[in-house]
Symmetry: C2
Subunit: 525 residues, 2 copies
């Protein structure tokens, strides 16, 4: 936007913006999408409207070649790559959720970074409420009504607060649910949430969230996840179907591949935000390692800084093209604020003035509303907030596509993958670990088989359209690949050789079952 | 809602409502979701709020056993079936889009029936606009900007009108698009659209839509679809990536399986809306074949009738339980209206008064706004309409999940499935028909191989991460199964035996390629 404005009607210079969505998400308001207090569309802004003279390519970047000065983008509806040549390149790649460090998180943790994540989470939360309303099994019901948020920074606290408000308000609309059954657990490694704001405001937020029944667990780190639980240190488990991880984030994969200098995965730039040794390449925002001239340290990866960095980069690019003086980046944060839901927030101004409660909340709203780009959006969000004040929370669940496909799941040792008598709507391939096939007969358990990686299970019930004849339980921690009925049938019918594989697997499993049965009758006899 | 109201606080009677979504969609306003003039959430209403004392099960019905008086629902998060026993059963299953009659429609036609469909279509339309904005190939660009709607009834006409308004307005925000490039084609079998409203209003609608640049093709039926085009009679093709079919609809699969009497797939009921021979079973709405006592014919499957049928069924169930007089169903339609976008509509009252233009549009809005259930929604929709009047159309695209998975596509004889040099991001299995592998060399074409059903292709570029070394073209009409990279790699890595299959396929393809190459060099030599 700055660059476009500076260019004016200059026709010799072209700006191309590559982004994988055609909108800009106003991140600070993302948690409000969960509760629906802002309508989904309104925290996002069409980029074409924000910068009408910029050429927008809605694609993912596949590779960046700093030598050839070319950015290659992913195929769209037609399977061809697109190459964009540049004279100046601005890298604003941000960072990404990096779930690979924690086992099971990738499969069972909900990321919370973009709009799709927020919408997906909202739908999931409504789904577990629907399921809990019908569920008779007390343990499973408890797991359905337990929501775990990992990370006590701004993002984690705001998410936990909004989620807590929403779930407790929504559960009142379910005949068989009681808000007191709902558990929202916030995990934080340190000894006080919102460490950036200091002990006074952190303490305020802590007390406020506790009063609203959020369980805060200090000194506790998320260690991983399975299909059934959040894993804590010392082997503790919190059974849940909803685990939201706001940490950890890591460098963008494209940054990792760049041949320039990096610190902790971020691209090192000089005080002009230029990448040394690569003239015409600039970096800013979360992906850049920017010297803080005021403190001698490094600029924090916050929106406040990023916006000002954008202005400097725009200025310096124009200076490089048209000749002129480059500017150094210098900025001191004005303040920080975090929303706590329900007309409350905490805020700190100029590093010294602390605000909390409704005053901080009004401040929070005023600041972010002012920052929200686009007059039209300001108007829409204003109306949403007004309606949210007078109308009840919305609990409609908007599903846009079938959720079942090929996916991975992780189970902890001892967890049951499926039970005898369950519906056989999917097949499993064991990726790692060991499972056992268990038959319940007259109250006694009989282990029919042990399976190792590379083996298949669960196909019999699906092919014969019968309930599961035996349970399968994880012996160690296991990873499984799951194929749901629809995809499985497509593969079986149309992938040459697939049917033979499965006929053989079934034969073996039948033989094993019979062998086990005959052992059983011998033992009984 | 009627039944709940009649029951009052009577605690001995329980109502269970089984629905696959937790909301009720107000169908008449669905086309407005495409253009965004009503926000997505606002045409849907949480069922729990509409009937708070009803027990809602958000599940799909898997089977209905009229003898045992049991309805079985699909598994939720836990893979177990749920059985619901009943004393009285009301069947309001509606009808379903039945795409199976027309080849390729299932794979390439967009249904337009529920909210997910509307949202999916909106996202797709924005996607093709984004792609067209970047596309250099003139033919492909033209196909991207062509939108075909099949069916000139209420649903088709309203959809075409809204779509036309939206696409033309939105295309102005794209730097490289011109509204004049956009083609919206409406196919209608008869000789005038909106036949239900008679020639005067049909003629009005026809003229109005033409003035807004909708191409209306009469006497033309959709015959099928391929990945590249809508197929018309006499082999004519309209190249398009967006085909919306509002016809044909067929009976719900659950109705088909019921042992009661049916006419054209609909459940025959008597004047009390009871299903003969099955006491306690009632049917209404689009799935019921209801005698029209006024005309001696059959009640039309419209919302106007369905709402009144609900009232009668509620009354008659209460009469059956508590004793009382059953009521016969008698009703005459009050009128019909269809919105044409842009402050215009057509309407007919009491079968004789014709309205058109802005007056009909005001009437349309007033009627449907009054019918929209829930005071809160009325308020929200009112505000949306107000904002739509003063703010520009929204072009944000809300994607909630990855769209690639295992899917089927259809290609017509001569159509190209992929081109030499394309990115190899998916593999194909030939389900039916025949394809040829074509290599372009110095401007001449060389056919490397012909493949028949059960054969695989396209795996080499994917595995080697190279561009396609040859094109594949359909010789006859073909159906293919497509597996995208992510799923393919999961299968290859974790489905035992899969890797061997593909190693063998690759070896064969390599051998074929070499054989063809050596033939080629011999010929050249």
């Amino acid at each position: 936007m700055y660059l476009e404005k500076m260019l004016g009607k200059n026709s010799g210079i072209f700006i191309t913006l590559i982004n994988k969505e055609n909108y800009f998400v106003f991140q600070p308001m993302l948690p409000e999408v969960i509760s629906g207090s802002i309508q989904i569309q309104n925290i996002i802004n069409p980029i074409r409207r924000l910068c009408p003279r910029v050429n927008l390519e809605v694609r993912e970047v596949e590779s960046i070649d700093l030598e050839r000065q070319v950015v290659t983008t992913s195929p769209g509806l037609r399977p061809v790559h697109n190459e964009v040549k540049y004279d100046h390149l601005v890298l604003g790649l941000g960072n990404v959720m990096n779930f690979s460090q924690l086992p099971g998180l990738h499969q069972h943790g909900f990321p919370f970074k973009n709009l799709g994540d927020a919408l997906h989470l909202r739908n999931h939360v409504i789904h577990v409420l629907e399921e809990a309303d019908m569920e008779k099994d007390a343990d499973f019901r408890k797991a359905l009504l337990t929501f775990v948020v990992a990370g006590g920074g701004f993002s984690g606290v705001e998410t936990a607060a909004e989620l807590n408000d929403f779930v407790r308000a929504a559960s009142r609309e379910y005949r068989n649910l009681n808000p007191s059954e709902v558990r929202v657990v916030l995990l934080h490694m340190g000894d006080l949430i919102l460490p950036e704001l200091g002990p006074e405001l952190g303490g305020f937020a802590d007390k406020l969230l506790r009063r609203r029944k959020v369980e805060i667990r200090y000194g506790t780190r998320l260690e991983g996840a399975t299909a059934e639980a959040a894993l804590l240190p010392d082997g503790e488990k919190i059974p849940t179907k909803t685990l939201i991880a706001t940490v950890p984030s890591g460098p963008h994969p494209l940054c990792v591949d760049l041949p320039c200098k990096k610190e902790r995965g971020r691209i090192v730039v000089n005080e002009y935000l230029e990448v040394p040794d690569f003239p015409g390449v600039w970096a800013l925002g979360d992906c850049a390692w920017i010297p803080d001239l005021k403190t001698g340290g490094i600029c924090p990866p916050t929106a406040q800084y990023a916006v000002r960095e954008g202005k400097i980069v725009a200025n310096n690019i124009m200076a490089a093209i048209q000749g002129g003086k480059k500017k150094q980046f210098e900025f001191t944060a004005l303040g920080m604020a975090g929303a706590l839901g329900h007309h409350s927030a905490v805020a700190q101004l100029f590093g010294k003035i602390n605000l909390s409660g409704i005053l901080a909340w009004l401040f929070w709203r005023a600041i972010y509303w002012a920052k929200l780009p686009g007059l039209e959006r300001k108007f829409r969000v204003g109306i949403d907030w007004f309606l949210d004040g007078i109308l009840p929370k919305d609990i409609v669940q908007i599903k846009t596509s079938r959720s079942h496909s090929i996916s991975y799941e992780r189970y902890g040792a001892g967890e049951v993958i499926f039970r005898q008598g369950d519906v056989g709507d999917r097949v499993y391939s064991l990726v790692s670990g060991e499972v056992e096939v268990v038959e319940q007969l007259d109250g006694t358990e009989k282990i029919l088989a042990r399976l190792s990686p590379g083996e298949f299970f669960g196909e019999m019930a699906l092919i014969n359209d019968e309930p599961r004849v035996a349970a399968v339980r994880a012996v160690t921690n296991v990873d499984v690949l799951i194929i749901y009925r629809q995809d499985f049938e497509a593969l079986l019918d149309h992938v040459p050789g697939m049917k033979q594989i499965f006929d053989q697997v079934m034969e073996e499993h039948l033989a094993e079952g019979e062998a086990a049965d005959s052992t059983l009758s011998k033992e009984n006899g």
